[in-house]
C-alpha cells in the first residue's frame, strides 16, 4: 500500500497531450480498455508492455490513425481545440502533418522506399504547402543533418540504406516541420545493439536541443530507461502502473511491473 499522489501544485502548465478514457476493440478482442495518459510539454513519456498489451494501438490513436470507440484526445496547442478524435479526415491529416511526427518500427510504414531520402523528408513540407524547391531542399537537408544522417547520401533511396539510417530518415521526416509531439513506436527494435545506441543517442540529443514532447513505445526497458522521464506500464490493454522512470525501474509496485523489471538482463 502506497500513498495516493496529489494533483500537480508547482507545475501549472497544462499537459500538452491528454488522452482520456480511450477504449478500442477489434472484434471480440479488446485492445485498449479505458486508458488515460498525459504528457507535459518537453516531457518524454515511455510506454512499456509486452506484445499485445495495446501500447502500439494507443500510439496509433495518438497519431489519429485509429479512432477509439470511446474517449477523448486533446493537444494543448494554438489553433488546436476539442476532441481530436472527432476531427474529419481532412483536418486530421493537416494536424498530423504539421503538429505530430511519428517514427515506426518498420521503416516501410513511414517511408517511400524507392524515393530519395531527402524527398521523403520534403514530402512533409509539400503536404503542408511548401512550393519552393530550394526551401524544400534546404529544410530536408537540415532535418536529415539534425538526425545525424550522412549528407553525402541525401538522395539515396531508403531501400539502399541500413536499418539505422532508415530510422534516421524517418526521424528527419518526423521532425522536419518541428512538430510539438513526436511519437516513437519501437524506434530501435530490430537494429544491432551498437546502431540502437546511436539512434537512441540521436533521439536524446534532439529532445534536449528542441524540447520536443515525446511518447515512446517499446518492449525494451533499456530504451525506455534511456529516454523516458515518466513511464506507463501497460498490460492486456490496461494501464497497470505509471510513475517517474527511476521509480518504475527501482521501486516497481505492481506485480507485473516487478516481473518485467526483474526479467531485464
Amino acid at each position: 500500500m502506497t500513498l495516493t499522489l496529489n494533483a500537480p501544485r508547482i507545475v501549472e502548465t497544462r499537459p500538452l497531450l491528454e488522452v482520456h478514457g480511450v477504449s478500442k476493440s477489434y472484434g471480440s478482442v479488446q485492445a485498449v480498455r479505458n486508458v488515460s495518459a498525459h504528457a507535459y510539454p518537453g516531457e518524454v513519456l515511455g510506454i512499456v508492455g509486452e506484445s499485445g498489451s495495446g501500447k502500439s494501438t494507443l500510439l496509433r490513436m495518438m497519431n489519429l490513425e485509429e479512432i477509439p470507440e470511446a474517449g477523448s484526445y486533446t493537444l494543448d496547442l494554438p489553433d488546436v481545440s476539442g476532441n481530436l478524435f472527432e476531427l474529419d479526415r481532412f483536418a486530421r491529416r493537416m494536424l498530423c502533418a504539421t503538429k505530430i511526427g511519428i517514427v515506426y518500427q518498420n521503416p516501410h510504414l513511414g517511408l517511400l522506399m524507392k524515393h530519395s531520402s531527402s524527398g521523403n523528408v520534403a514530402e512533409r513540407l509539400l503536404v503542408a504547402g511548401e512550393r519552393s524547391f530550394a526551401t524544400l531542399r534546404q529544410a530536408a537537408t537540415e532535418a536529415l543533418d539534425a538526425s545525424e544522417f550522412p549528407l553525402d547520401r541525401l538522395d539515396a533511396p531508403p531501400i539502399e540504406l541500413s536499418g539505422g539510417m532508415q530510422q534516421r530518415v524517418q526521424l528527419a521526416k518526423a521532425i522536419a516541420l518541428e512538430p510539438a509531439l513526436l511519437l516513437l513506436d519501437e524506434p530501435t527494435t530490430g537494429l544491432d545493439v551498437s546502431v540502437q545506441a546511436l539512434v537512441l543517442d540521436t533521439l536524446k540529443r534532439l529532445q534536449q536541443d528542441r524540447q520536443i514532447t515525446m511518447v515512446i513505445v517499446s518492449h525494451d526497458l533499456g530504451v525506455i530507461r534511456t529516454l523516458a522521464d515518466r513511464v506507463m506500464v501497460m498490460r492486456r490493454g490496461a494501464v497497470v502502473e505509471t510513475g517517474l522512470a527511476d521509480q518504475i525501474f527501482q521501486d516497481p509496485q505492481h506485480p507485473y511491473t516487478q516481473q518485467l523489471v526483474h526479467a531485464k538482463l
Binding site: M1, T2, L3, T4, L5, N6, A7, P8, R9, I10, V11, Y40, E43, A197, L198, D201, K204, Q208, T226, D229, R230, T242, G243, L244, D246, Q247, Q250, D251, Q253, H254, P255, Q258, Q259, H262
Partner: protein, 239 residues
C-alpha cells in the same frame, strides 16, 4: 534557522510479489534539515541509509509519513507530490549525487557538466565556461574535457559526475557515498565545494563510508540503526 526539509514518520518497505514477501527498510523516521545544515546518515549496512535518500528523492515511493519540503513555490509534501512536480523540483531545487556517473555515448565531459546549467536557462557560452571551471577544480585534465567519459576510469567519471551534480547551487543536496572512488585531491575539492554550497545555504543529507572525509562539515548525525533512531552532534562520530 530556515527549515528546508521536515521528515515526519517516514516509512518504507518493499513488497516482493513473486516471493509474496514484504521487506521493511525503515520505519517511522522523523528529522529535519535546515538551510546550510549538513546531516550525516549513519547506520550499519542494510540499515536503509541509501534507501532513505532514494525515498527522499522519490526514486522510491514511501509507504507512510510526510516529506515536507520548503520549495520556492511553498511547502510541498514530496511523499505525495505529483510526478511532474517532483521532476520539476529535481531540475530546479533538489540534487542527488550518486556513486556513479550515468555516462551516455558520444556526449563529452564538458557537455555533461553543462546540462544542468542549460536546463536552468543559462547562455551556452557562459555555461561552458562554468563547466570548464568546475572540471578543472575537480582535477579533470583539460585534454579530457571534450572527450567522452564512457571511456574514463571510475575515478575520472566520478569527478565529472561531481562537477555536474554540484555545479548549480540547489536548495537540497543529497549525497550517496560520493567519495567512494576519489583520490585525495578530488576529495579535497569536493569538501571545498560542499563547504561553499553550505555557506550559500544548501541543506545537505549525506551517506559517507568514511565520514572523516567531511568531518568538519557535519552538523548533525541521524542514526538509522533500527533499535534507536536518534540524532546527535558531530562528536558522536567516533571511529
Amino acid at each position: 534557522m530556515t527549515q528546508v526539509l521536515e521528515i515526519d514518520g517516514l516509512t518504507k518497505g518493499f513488497s516482493l510479489h513473486h516471493l509474496e514477501k514484504d521487506i521493511a527498510a525503515f520505519k517511522d523516521i522523523s528529522f529535519s534539515v535546515a538551510a546550510g545544515e549538513f546531516v550525516l546518515l549513519k547506520g550499519a549496512n542494510g540499515a536503509g541509509k541509501s534507501t532513505l535518500l532514494r525515498t527522499l528523492y522519490r526514486s522510491y515511493l514511501p509507504l507512510a509519513g510526510e516529506i515536507r519540503f520548503h520549495s520556492s513555490h511553498g511547502l510541498i509534501d514530496l511523499a505525495r507530490a505529483a510526478d511532474v512536480d517532483v521532476a520539476h523540483l529535481r531540475r530546479t531545487e533538489i540534487s542527488f549525487v550518486t556513486q556513479f556517473l550515468t555516462a551516455r555515448p558520444r556526449v563529452s565531459a564538458e557537455a555533461i557538466v553543462t546540462e544542468p546549467l542549460r536546463l536552468a536557462g543559462w547562455d551556452p557560452a557562459a555555461a561552458l565556461d562554468a563547466a570548464r571551471t568546475a572540471l578543472e577544480r575537480f582535477g579533470v585534465k583539460p585534454d579530457l574535457w571534450a572527450a567522452y567519459p564512457t571511456t574514463f576510469s571510475g575515478g575520472e567519471q566520478q569527478k565529472v559526475n561531481l562537477a555536474r551534480a554540484l555545479i548549480l547551487p540547489q536548495k537540497l543536496l543529497m549525497l550517496d557515498e560520493p567519495t567512494a572512488s576519489l583520490d585525495a585531491n578530488a576529495r579535497a575539492a569536493l569538501v571545498a565545494r560542499l563547504q561553499e554550497l553550505k555557506d550559500q545555504g544548501t541543506a545537505m543529507i549525506g551517506v559517507f563510508h568514511h565520514p572523516d572525509d567531511v568531518l568538519h562539515l557535519i552538523d548533525r548525525i541521524v542514526d538509522l540503526t533500527p533499535e534507536y533512531t536518534q540524532t546527535g552532534g558531530r562528536d558522536d562520530v567516533v571511529l
